[in-house]
């Protein structure tokens, strides 16, 4: 797992739990520390592995640069310089025909940088505020969604020379619902979190109006799923994530100092994961281990592991549901006293 910190340090962790103990620490495999001459000078905002292998990764930071690193030597193969703080970047996970990195900076224009040639190829104009989050669609390699402080989310097709495809409107075109300034906006505040669902059919956005909205990514309609108040005070981008291969799908949102888990399509709050001491900034879901990793201002990265439910046992004469004790993986069994004391 790749992680970037507010001090400019980038660390790669090995997530495998080889010890059989319930408490374990993931070891750092390699680090770009403060002593490295190529380290970022200010906070690293976004890190991403090269989508096709782990030989390369890209990091962008508040020191107005985006660096493409070689994992073996931990030296940057390419450095892109920008005029403003870089809030986030994203490379398309499915792209075959292009190797573009979309970058959102303090500037209102979304920049597209080409990995193969090392130059800035395209600029997408349309936002009127800083671009806090950018995301490629996992379904179509040319579709890009961008979120900005001007309360709007724009969806682009990068092959088109003209502007965005459409803007997400929280009232679905019903101009009567909002006050006239809020027409055609995705949120009533800054939009700082963007996440596509795994199949790319839906897009989730979070904003500083304490709301999270689920949109149909094909036509930009608000599905009007009501998650309630999703507290959000982040001035920068927020990294939200959805689960994969779960039924029903969950969305994990950092909410203050805990991570809130909601069911994706019904908007029900499942649970709040409490463990951090300070604000949580980002979370990421590992589809193979089915684990959630969250990082926050308390300098900790926590791993959240689901407890396995027992198989339902059919018993004659009694209810079909199994016993109340969850069978726990022996590596996770603990020897603490029980709750009933």
């Amino acid at each position: 797992m790749l992680s970037g910190g507010a001090d400019g340090v980038i660390v790669v962790y090995d997530l495998e739990n080889n010890s059989r103990k319930p408490q374990y620490t993931c070891k750092a495999v390699c680090t770009v520390g403060r002593s490295s001459q190529y380290v970022h000078r200010f906070s690293v905002e976004t890190v991403q592995w090269y989508p096709h292998d782990t030989g390369m990764f890209v990091s962008s930071s508040f020191d107005k640069t985006m660096k493409v690193w070689d994992t073996e030597t931990l030296k940057p193969a390419e450095v892109f310089q920008f005029e403003g703080n870089v809030y986030c970047h994203h490379m398309s996970p499915i792209a075959r025909k292009h190797s573009l990195i979309a970058v959102g900076t303090k500037d209102q224009k979304v920049q597209l940088c080409d990995l193969k040639s090392g130059s800035r190829i395209q600029v997408l104009q349309g936002h009127r505020g800083e671009v806090l989050s950018v995301r490629w669609s996992p379904r179509y390699e040319h579709i890009l969604a961008t979120a900005s402080t001007d309360s709007r989310v724009l969806v682009w097709d990068v092959r088109r020379a003209s502007g965005s495809l459409f803007s997400l409107d929280q009232h679905n075109g019903d101009k009567s619902k909002a006050s006239s300034e809020a027409v055609n906006t995705a949120h009533n505040g800054r939009v700082n979190g963007l996440c596509f669902t795994v199949d790319g059919l839906y897009l989730l956005t979070t904003g500083t109006d304490d709301r999270m909205r689920l949109w149909n990514s094909a036509n930009g309609k608000n599905t009007l799923v009501n998650y309630g108040k999703v507290s959000n005070e982040s001035r920068k981008g927020l990294k939200i994530t959805v689960s994969r291969s779960c039924s029903p799908e969950f969305v994990f949102v950092p909410c203050g100092s805990s991570v809130a888990v909601y069911t994706l399509h019904t908007g029900e709050l499942v649970t709040m994961l409490r463990g951090h001491y300070n604000n949580v900034d980002c979370c990421q879901f590992h589809p193979d281990y089915q684990e959630l990793y969250s990082g926050g201002k308390d300098c900790n990265i926590l791993a959240w592991v689901p407890v396995v439910r027992p198989p339902d046992v059919e018993e004659e004469g009694t209810a079909a549901k199994g016993g109340s004790q969850a069978t726990v993986n022996p590596a996770f069994e603990d020897a603490w006293s029980s709750d009933e004391d």
Binding site: K175, E268, T271
Partner: protein, 290 residues
Amino acid sequence: MFRSRVLLFFSGVCLNDWKILFDKELLQQCFKSVMNRKRALISDTFKVNKRRVGNEKQFGAVNNGEAGPLDVKATLQDLMTLFPRKLFNDALPQIVLKHQLYSIHNDRTQVDRQLSDLREQGELLMFQLGFDAEAFGLVFAADYKAKVLAGEEGRGTRGTVDKFLEKVLPSCKDLSFNKEKMLKEFLFTDSEITQLVKSGVLTVRDAGSWWLSIPNSGRFTKYLIQGRKAVLGMVKKSKYNEVLKAELEERQTNSQVKFQIKYHIHDIIGAELVECIPTTSGTVLRCVDY
């Protein structure tokens, strides 16, 4: 002594279905917080509450455990009884806020869907109340019509208001109207629009557009905000900023609170100004410090 305290704290946290795997630094921080009595209580850091009334729910299933299938109309009628009619001399129709429904039913999306169905059928009207972008008032259409016409008795604007209620309300489900629509679609003249604003059925939104509104609802909004502030103050003044819901319902209200306290309680829970925590002694309302 310290050891036993740490044991209890670990077992308390592991109540949830998700377990936390600690690393060394985190363990050290836990010990630090235990040793340092002057800092926050452990329970504050981890927000460990009294044991939750745990229930294994089927996530995603459309199911309201208490009352069978979700019936928003029945809930609306129940909430309407909490509205104080005498306070306004029966001049106002009974108003319920949309978020009060969220305090009763868990599934907000279902509530929203049923509400939009009722609005489509023309049984329910929704109004933007003005003090909060998300606060919507709900009134039964029949009630609204009756009260508005009763209020217009003997006034010159009665004819225009009648025309408005007949023509616009059944066909148009919007919350606001702009000039173009009023002039072209509904064929109202400028002077008629002025009459409608005067009678209180429309209020100005900005140049050339108006909100649909309830006449004389200014006092309602004022008392609502006043009462909401007072009830929240009651919760804040309690020890640990939390109070049992049942106890709050029994409390004496001061002169600032003009409505029934239950009305305000549904309001603050639904608007998420307080956190609702299920405990073994009932529901606890805790102030949310955001």
